[in-house]
Symmetry: C2
Subunit: 330 residues, 2 copies
């Protein structure tokens, strides 16, 4: 692949720039404006100038609060009256629980019986009400539908939702407000909510930017989907990057086809090594599902692979990376 | 103790406000302006509004680069010609090595033979030249004097130096620039360089602020010194907060006597629990020698102990904390 669509967003885009601006206004009073950190060490290792947008330092420990709070704070009184429901065992579940608490409405979270205890505690600490299901897609969907029918709650999907994508777009928007002349931006990709939002905001603010998704080799469905031209499903995955096991939806697939430059695959050893480097050298806790954005830049010839050459002024290229979360069981 | 000196600095202060301003101008182009992070979780746990100045995210992983670069970049050509020397096995050693490299001069570091390998690697990675000594104060001082005589290098003491104290003061200065109405500020105390600088900057910028040093119970020499009215030495210490084992010097003792509110002692269990909380809840790596600043606020009645009541407007008090470093062997 490698798209050529460098036009800024126009009114034909499913999620307009205006929707992203409104999302940002809506959530700004509630979320952290996370810092953009730099590291002389990582710059030397990569040969580039790297800018890390630290969503691991965001409320609830990940960017997911951006989309969840945009969706939930934007619900009408009628839509919100009976609460919200979501099928998620990860960072989105905690984010929905937190945003629902801000709104003062119940959050019903459908999680598999074998979800890690730490994830359940996070949801409960924000007041989310957990319904357990069997660890299969079928059971999860059925349970979610049942909870929705019983409670009348509104579904807040982890990524297949325009309001979610518009919310996630605000992370890249903030990064580009601080570093407007990025040559490339890298984010993890799972269901594609963050990467879709990042693509939309980046193409609008910096049309010539190169946009990459990073994905584990062991969960390479987005890579295969974009190269095949149709959505490929992941049957199962044993990647340690447990936040990156979801499949694209038609909504996110369409956005990525239009705006993404490419997807980069990362091995388990590489993403674990990057996670360790973040703790040792940058002193921040980054989950394995996030740390992989650094890996392509640590390879021999990494910059060339991304077709990033020094700038006209001889300075190294500027690359933004979204560190999406920091929720690690220590 | 509990001092009553709330006057801003005047020309009778050994380190003037002007010296701190000049230090900041000198080092600003080289150092990170570290972020000030907040945490809803920690605010709830403490009943206060906490502002964390993240010097663990500073270059070389600690605030020490502020003092070291102020001292080294401020040397005359003559003073710097033969390099610098320092007796330190910790963060100051890495900071001196780094600042000397910026200046293009050699850094001679005297470290005990049993210093952790990770500290030696950090010094060497910045180009510092290590001379090993026996792990005693006598051997260290003798070795340092010998290296100084042999090389003609200029001594850059870890804390007993006005230029170092003025440099360390810039961390609190930046924090108060961002949060001007702090009711209290807490920093770790070891030799007293950071706490002296913090005291000077804070009294100048916010005369009514309460200034606390935090010290391990197992290395309580500063506490005993300030309560006895004369410097008490630590014979030895087995605290895990290995950056906090130095003794005050007459210089730092005099500043703390004039400007400090009090010293708070922290148990080993408390500082380790705080270190874990920083990683789990704030997603940052904080060394045990830094994490202890949070501990007094996590105790039952912690706020009252610091005599910090809600403000006139009913809002919780605002407390600044300097997270001094993040260099942990993982």
């Amino acid at each position: 692949m490698a798209t050529t669509n460098k036009a800024p967003l126009d009114s034909s885009t499913p999620i307009t720039w205006q929707a992203i601006l409104e999302a940002h206004e809506r959530i700004r009073p509630r979320i952290h404006r996370t810092p953009v950190l730099t590291s002389g060490t990582f710059d030397r290792m990569s040969g580039a100038r790297l800018y890390f947008k630290c969503e691991n330092l965001q409320k609830t420990g990940s960017f997911k609060i951006r989309g969840a709070s945009n969706a939930i704070l934007g619900l009408s009184e009628g839509e919100s009256a009976r609460g919200v429901v979501t099928p998620s065992s990860g960072n989105h579940a905690a984010a929905v629980s937190c945003a629902a608490a801000w709104r003062g409405i119940p959050a019903f979270i459908v999680m598999p019986r074998n979800a890690p205890a730490v994830k359940c505690r996070a949801v409960e600490s924000y007041g989310g009400k957990i319904t357990y299901c069997e660890p299969t897609i079928t059971s999860r969907n059925e349970t979610c539908a049942r909870v929705q029918a019983e409670t009348g709650a509104t579904l807040v999907h982890p990524y297949d939702d325009d309001r979610i994508v518009a919310g996630q777009a605000t992370a890249a928007k903030e990064l580009l407000e601080e570093v407007p002349d990025l040559d490339a931006i890298l984010t993890p990709v799972s269901g594609g909510g963050l990467l879709s939002g990042t693509s939309l905001a980046s193409r609008q603010m910096r049309p010539e930017i190169r946009i990459y998704g990073c994905e584990p080799e062991r969960a390479d469905d987005a890579y295969r989907s974009l190269h095949a031209g149709e959505i490929q499903k992941l049957e199962s995955s044993d990647t340690v990057a447990d936040g990156l096991r979801a499949n694209l939806s038609p909504r996110t697939f369409a956005i990525l086809r239009s705006y993404l430059t490419d997807i980069l695959l990362v091995s388990e050893a590489e993403l674990l090594a990057a996670q360790k480097l973040f703790a040792e050298r940058m002193k921040i806790v980054v989950e394995a599902s996030s740390s992989l954005v650094l890996s392509p830049l640590l390879r021999e010839g990494g910059l060339e692979k991304l077709r990033l050459a020094p700038r006209a002024d001889g300075q190294p290229p500027k690359i933004g990376m979204i560190l999406s979360g920091g929720n690690v069981e220590l």
